[in-house]
């Protein structure tokens, strides 16, 4: 297994409250790994343990096969959900300070900052104070200080909150580029559309337990229900529907088309029956719509959590 991060049997309690209950997750090298879960599920607790901000009660974390050690903080970049910078410190000075805390020399930090400031075209902000910048501008600085020491593991907690769509896209592009350059990315979010877009792997944490983990495509396959959405222009919709009900589970469907025909969701017993269904439909009228309903991340999320109750 080529995993950058191995989380093994982590237990973390705060007093009587169990934040993480025997959680194990493997994060493959070079992936974008979505760490999903409702509020209060334990994501932040896990992220803090990976960052060595808090220590687990039991269990181990391995980075590149070695148990996590204090020096490893220099190889991790972390952007917390609650963004924060020193309000009355100058942008450049602040970025330099944070880079040096991550173990960069002053000279090296300056060089890399220049690269990023040029890339984002924000060199003019160097001597401004954070409180003079807009929220979106501060977010860019935050992103830069997270990635500038070229960590092998990057942890983003809700990276797109606070960005407008254009800047969110810019950041998403940068994150994917960092992955392509070899970084491994942990991506914690509630926004499922960004999961679809970005993540190769996901893990779902709910009520302190991991309830789902794997490659996003595999999980989708697991959650598919063999349901097809069909639209049919036919002279005799009632008869067709009655006929379909004889062999399949049929539910009313509601989707938007420019035609008013018969719209149904049809659940097959086996995915291989799809051809039979299609040929049957073609004999009854004009097929306008034929699509497998693949669960998106959002549905998987809701289904998995409802199952966990």
């Amino acid at each position: 297994m080529n995993n950058l991060l191995e989380i093994k049997n982590i237990v973390k309690t705060y007093g009587d409250f169990t934040a993480l209950n025997d959680v194990s997750i493997s994060i493959p090298k070079g992936s974008v790994f979505g760490l999903l879960g409702p509020n209060g599920a334990g994501k932040t607790s896990l992220i803090r343990i990976i960052n060595q901000i808090t220590m687990p009660d039991s269990g181990e974390v391995y980075l590149d096969g070695e148990p996590l050690a204090p020096k490893d903080v220099d190889y991790i970049g972390y952007m917390p959900e609650e963004r924060g910078l020193y309000k009355n410190m100058k942008v450049g000075e602040q970025a330099l300070y944070l880079a040096q805390l991550k173990g960069l020399s002053k000279r090296e930090a300056k060089k890399r900052l220049k690269y990023w400031f040029d890339k984002f075209d924000i060199s003019a902000w160097w001597d401004k104070k954070i409180e003079e910048l807009s929220k979106g501008m501060a977010q860019k600085i935050q992103f830069i200080v997270t990635v500038m020491h070229k960590p092998k593991l990057l942890i983003f907690d809700e990276p797109f909150s606070g960005f407008d769509p254009i800047n969110a896209k810019l950041i998403a592009k940068e994150i994917l580029q960092l992955r392509d350059e070899g970084a491994t990315i942990i991506f914690s979010t509630h926004r499922m559309e960004s999961v679809e877009e970005m993540c190769d792997y996901i893990a779902l944490i709910d009520k302190s337990n991991k309830i789902l983990e794997g490659k996003l495509d595999d999980i989708k396959r697991e959650f598919r229900s063999n349901t097809f959405q069909i639209g049919l222009e036919t002279a005799n919709p009632k008869e067709v529907e009655a006929k379909l009900k004889e062999s399949y589970d049929v539910y009313p469907a509601d989707f938007r088309t420019i035609n008013d025909g018969l719209k149904l969701n049809i659940k097959l017993k086996d995915i291989r029956e799809s051809n039979n269904l299609l040929s049957f439909l073609t004999t009854k009228g004009q097929v306008q719509h034929f699509e497998e309903l693949v669960p998106d991340a959002n549905e998987i999320f809701i289904q998995a959590i409802n199952k966990n109750i």
Partner: protein, 439 residues
Amino acid sequence: MSKLKLIIQREFNAKVRNKSFLIMTFLAPLLIAGLGFLIAFLTQKNDEKVKEIVYVDESGLFSKDNFNDSKTIKYQDYSAIGIDETKKKVENGDFYGVLYVPKKESIELLAKSIEFYSKETPGMSLMGVIEGKVETHFRNLKLTNFGIDLKKIKASKINSDIKMFNFSGQESSKLNNALKIAAGLIAGVLLQIFVVIYGTSVMRSVIEEKTSRIVEIIVSSVKPFQLMLGKIIGNASAGLLQFLIWGVLIFIISSVLSFVFGIDMVEMQSSKIPADQLSAAKETVSPDKLQLLIQEVYRLPFLKLFILFIYYFIGGFFLYSSLFAAIGAAVDNETDTQQFLLPINLPLVLALYVGVFAVQNDPNGPIVTILSMIPFTSPIVMLMRVPFGVPWYELAISMALLLVTFVFMVWFSAKIYRVGILMYGKKPTYKDLYKWLKY
């Protein structure tokens, strides 16, 4: 280690570059020195106004000899004019006030029935002076009545000045004692001010990091303990720098001002002492004694004082500021700090009061000795005791206790700090803080 250095540097810079720090550092000495001289100047001017007081004596017991004029009070005998007429004159503003001595059968009765009329309520010191004159005269009259020769009484007056020695063979004097009290007091008060100002500053800095949420980024790079330590050391260095600048500036400004305005420091000080102590004080600061004063100042154990001052200063500051840091970490905003600040301020205030009152009376008394052992009060109380000479073992116990407690407190605070900086939203109780210790 180099990360700690970075943090110290940042905290120091953040503090020193702050506008309010610059203003406080350079304006405060100007204000203090200016205010001091303003007070001295005004007091001088105020005293220069001569008060004219008349007396109407119907008893016939007083003469002008009993009312010697002073620089600011002049007396006139208006007995011939009568009290009613004189009162009118006072009302018209011809004089400041009138002292009325009626005729009575006995001195005791008379002593209770003397009256003073004036347009405005006279100051305490003025009444003190007049009462003193009347009392002296009555006492002399009674002594004469008892058949005691006043001359003999005068001749019996003797000044005794007990010379005090300790066993290291040093001669000490009352003057020396006063100096020791002053030296101890200055050291103790400085420490208290420093702890409160810079402890609060550490606390604010923690709260600021917490509310701006940068703390999570910082602690993903350094240990919370390093961050806390860096903060304390950074703030302490900024504070020491400020004190140093203050000291130098106050010295320069007061030298310049006293040179320009010619205000005599010795006179300025004596003008603050109430009238009845004035003569005694003047006696003490006679020219040859002034030389003694300087000698005595030089005879204070400066090196020992200085070393101990630094030790208790650092120990005391770390002890308290680590607590301040823990409080800052526990809360979300400054208004929530009140309930936790009280138990911190209490020992500080207690130490200062005990220092001021008890150390003066008996620098080796039991309460003082105990408080100079307890680490939360020892920095202030012990510093006040040191000039009087403290047995070496007491000093050793006190210093050791401070060191142990200081290390323990930093560890204890770091635990609360570590948990607290990542807790938002809820105002914690003492019970919560106790739970955090076990996380």
